[in-house]
Assembly symmetry: C2
Homo-oligomer: 362 residues x 2
């Protein structure tokens, strides 16, 4: 039976921050919460989706809001446990296990901290296989699972339980509450059965995150090229290498929105990449040509260390590699594209899989 220990937490934090495509919050804050919980309560059991009884009650725990705010407003841990317990009380059913809602710096770590503290196992799956900015942007939604009952908790001690008519109303009401509560909050959401997770979840995401983090770590320890190791373990496409120029970033409506201009170096000298984001990287445009769009993963890492860079961590002068990764097949359905494709975010382009776009250039 595999367990998540402190070393695996370090690896997952890096790997999930990479899969978080710039969003999901600062990996450092989430990691501290998970490490403290594991030190105090012991390692966390990791369950394969196939091990779940069909009627088991599974509850994802997560952070919601603008990651920029989270950096200044470190969660105490108390609020996520409060959210989790209020939902458990409301459901009136024992929780069998917790599960990440997405891969990302904070939201890959919070479920580990909750699992340790509540002495629950963690399910090796999530609802995105990456990170996305809105609550209905999960594969659970594509399969008709309700986001509510959900609970929101802030660090002051306020809690809110929502029951909505659809997942867009959940997003609308919870997003506004997040802003009023100070910009970032903890949530317990999408309570599901084991059967739901088998049908709608993206499997093995925790293990995959750990493998990515481990590959980067071992390459750095052995003086190998960490970016090459990252490309090898993910099978991703190196879309661009360059130096970050202007970064425009603003926090509005509970999101961090903006763009970065990257000037090519090495093989990409003379070329420019425009990276647009809303918490997560949404679209990469190279010299006026679309290089990749959501729902495919657009990941920015440090060109030397392969350490993932969040959208709020983008700084002038950084040397970065931008990597494209094909998203899970569940996102490539008509409902998936409608929910998280480029047009949903206001870009007037059709979705073309990143592997096709890469071939067109070569």
């Amino acid at each position: 039976m595999p367990y998540i220990d402190a070393q695996m937490v370090e690896d997952i934090a890096i790997g999930a921050a990479f899969l978080g495509t710039g969003g999901g919050g600062d990996p450092y804050v989430g990691k501290l919460m998970a490490l403290q919980a594991i030190e105090k309560y012991g390692p966390v059991e990791l369950l394969n989706v196939e091990q779940l009884p069909d009627d088991a009650q599974i509850v994802p725990a997560a952070m919601m809001g603008a990651p920029t705010v989270l950096v200044e407003k470190v969660p105490s841990g108390e609020e996520v446990f409060r959210a989790f317990n209020m939902l458990k009380d409301y459901l009136g059913k024992e929780i069998y296990a917790t599960i990440p809602i997405e891969a990302g710096g904070v939201n890959s770590m919070i479920p580990i901290a909750v699992a340790a503290t509540q002495k629950l196992p963690l399910v090796d799956a999530d609802g995105m296989g990456r990170a996305f900015p809105e609550l209905q942007m999960v594969t659970y939604h594509l399969y008709g699972i309700s986001a509510t009952p959900m609970v929101i908790a802030d660090e002051k001690g306020n809690t809110m339980l929502l029951k909505t008519v659809d997942n867009f109303w959940t997003e609308n009401l919870a997003r506004n509450a997040t802003v009023v509560m100070g910009g970032s909050v903890m949530i317990a959401i999408y309570p599901m059965t084991g059967k739901d997770v088998k049908k709608a979840g993206i499997r093995n995401i925790v293990t995959y995150s750990a493998e990515i983090g481990k590959a980067i770590r071992l390459a750095r320890q052995n003086d190998q090229n960490p970016v090459a190791a990252l490309i090898k373990v993910t099978g991703g496409y190196p879309l661009f290498k360059g130096k970050i120029g202007d970064v425009i970033r603003r926090t509005t409506g509970g999101f961090v929105r903006g763009q970065a201009i990257i000037s090519g170096i090495d093989d990409f000298r003379g070329s420019k990449l425009e990276l647009h984001f809303q918490n997560e990287n949404l679209i990469a445009i190279q010299d006026g040509r679309v290089a990749a769009t959501v729902p495919d993963l657009i990941c920015t890492v440090d060109a030397e260390t392969a350490i993932p860079i969040t959208t709020e961590g983008l700084r002038y002068g950084q040397r970065v590699v931008v990597v494209g990764i094909p998203c899970d097949e569940k996102w490539r359905t008509p409902k998936g594209i409608e929910t998280v494709g480029p047009r949903y975010f206001g870009y007037d382009v059709d979705y073309v899989p990143v592997e096709t776009l890469v071939k067109e250039v070569r």
Copy 2:
């Protein structure tokens, strides 16, 4: 044992709309809800506060939001019952009775509709003895009673349960949710014990509302002066008589804010009254001199019929009488004045009781 029947509903609607000082919503909408419920489920038992067991669970039910919106968005009744039931489930305790939170056109009627439908008695008390625009503006708050757990329900089917650290956070979060939900919602709030109501409630408000409505009704039936009958039954002060000129009204942040200018007629010819409101009438200024302020009641009625006029019902050319009524003594404490006095609403004047202000003029 007194019961509320259809005739008493009519009288309460008029009397409470008067005590609502311009706020509390259109009496017509609330009255329809109460009358339909009584017709279907029978008259509602009215309990004197002294009849309540100390440990009885009492739950107020009310409308929250801008009355202007409510006029266009008639509640179906279903949402207030949903709010009430969700709170009951959360408390895990049977509800002994419901109670109005305030006197006003809608919020004196909704508890009657809930009582009829849920087959519960109604307590003859409220938390204001009038109407006020914010959730912490109740005598319950003055006695340290928490507004939460509370439930908000909209007509679309969304519900929200709040647990907050204080009653100002309740107001803040609930007000924002109200705006997102469309401007007016139904709530179940301030769950209390019988002991709490005995200590913090304003007694006999339902009976008093009915007496006011009855006095106006009988005067009109008997061709007597309804305004004189109103003054007699309330012991109020006729502050002004005039014709409404300019009315400025805007709906912002879930409130109707504005002012009306009234030009004196009869004894008040040549004089002008400025009436400022935020859902309710807040301050009346006659020719630059304060004539009355919150927490005292400033009530506008039709000069011929004595029918109360809500702030959203104020129209150019209406002939009105403005009546001042001393508020409950609970509001005249330092904490009461701090909570609902003129300075809380942004007016740079000290609170002076209306009976003192009236004497100063004479």
